[in-house]
Amino acid sequence: MNGYAGRKAVNLIMMVLCGLAAVAALLPLGSVLWLVVSHGVAGLSFTFFTALPTPVGEPGGGVGNAVVGTLQIVALACVIGLPLGVGAGVFLAEKGDSALGSAVRFTAEVLSGVPSIVVGIVAYGLVVVPMKRFSAIAGAVALAILMIPTLARGTEELVRLVPRSIREAALGLGVPEWKTSLRVVLRTALGGVATAALLAIARATGETAPLLFTALNNQYWNLRPDQPTASLTVQIFNYAISPYDDWHQKAWSAALVLLLIVGGLNLTARALTRSRLKGAR
């Protein structure tokens, strides 16, 4: 294969293979999206969002409690995770050029790779064991632990993007450092931080594993954070591994609802980034 023609042939083959790799990557995406929409749409109705799940064989019913449960767990997770994650990110951006900063950065990076099921066990030991019951709080703690490291790294990078001149202008006017950080730097980075937060929330909304033995599940309406709580993802899992066709159908519909929520959050984050970039230009 040393001749010019041979080398050109190899080039062509490799380039075609790279193109095929792109096709191979997008094929499953198309398949997943198409099947979730085509299978799921049949089961969507008003009652699907408002009704409680029904026992096997009883027609109708919905996943209303699971939708509410997911929102509840994720909201609680935000209350715990957002301040800690964003705060740690501001620490890394403002004070991160030290030995302690490197240690925190390294820890955050490694923690963001900890499997979510392991985090579930940690939340179990941290909340479920002392409270002696499964609860929305335990689920929220698990999701918050998952949010913190990625949010910290994301926030750091966005805060570091704020031009030095803005900070120097504020400090030069005699504004104290804390006010500069909080009112000037962080406010400038706010759009970006909001994007990072939305992405973290989207990821948390799609989590199942850490909820299996922290929030567990619940067949009824529940608004108390210290009680077992239903979630869309756990409900999808339970429906999917059941032997009943009706429940399989509901799993697809619930998956469609989940995809709409997660996709909506992701798209909002994207739109935010784009408008921010436009504003900067």
Binding site: P28, L33, L35, P115, G206, N266
Partner: protein, 326 residues
Amino acid sequence: MALEATATPRATRHQAGVNRGDRAWNGLLLGLGLAVLVLAAVIIYILLHASQPLWTSTSPWQFLKSTDWDPVSGAFGALPFVYGTLVTSMLALLLAVPVGLGLSVFLTELAPKQLRPVVAFGVELLAGIPSVVYGLWGLFTLAPLLREHVEPFLQKVFGPIPVVGALFQGAPLGLGYLSAGVILAIMILPTICAVTTEVVKTVPLPLREASLALGATRWEMVRWSVLPYSKAGILGAVLLGLGRALGETMAVTMVIGNNPEIHASLFAPGYSLPSVIANEFAEATDASHTAALAALALVLFAITFLMNAAARGLVRRSKHTAGAHG
């Protein structure tokens, strides 16, 4: 005295106020930074504490090498799960690395400008789909496809070959190591592609131009200039993907078959570390059972920790060298 008392306060009060505010702010930030370290310590402590009861009756080595998993009789061996986790993850890498590399070459070198954001957006979407939805898809679409078409085909082609054929024996069930490996490959593809693309983009333009000027074809430029230059970063991307594959839970749980035995055949149902925890932890009533599952989590944590630490180091190093050149 009286003069001093009235003259100084304004300046010092202001000064002190600033200092107090800054001191509080610095303290707050320090606390938030330390919170991350505390979180890591808490994670390790809880895992050690929860698995503690097991170590009184079993040594870690005994636990790792035993293949017996029978919670009712109190036999706890991690090997089938470690084996299943490693086999499915390796399979995932085998499928996802070539596709991921090809995809990033496509994205950085080949695709027309208008197509790039579209494909990149698609890959991003792939990363955004929740694991449980992949599991649902795997259970009702991928598994039947493998059972009816792919597995019989593989069996016919590779089955008669000695040694390799052992991987393709038995009834094609659709639920087993192979399905789990394929789903994992799809799920780690975005990670591998994103990191590789990022690293490949740091290859300096003059390096590409030089190689083209010497008469290299586009592929030769990629093969001899771009890939060697980004070697460390690509290895890091692969390790990051591996880290994700090792810890992935729901999708694997739904398609791996959940059988705590070791089989040579890829078609056989197996089990992985995360999936046995997902399936059994909520129902584990026995203290030693819970401890054994926590011990599995500890093993998983240790493996993924090492993987990710190594991966981050490699990616960072490759960016540093890139920075030195560019």
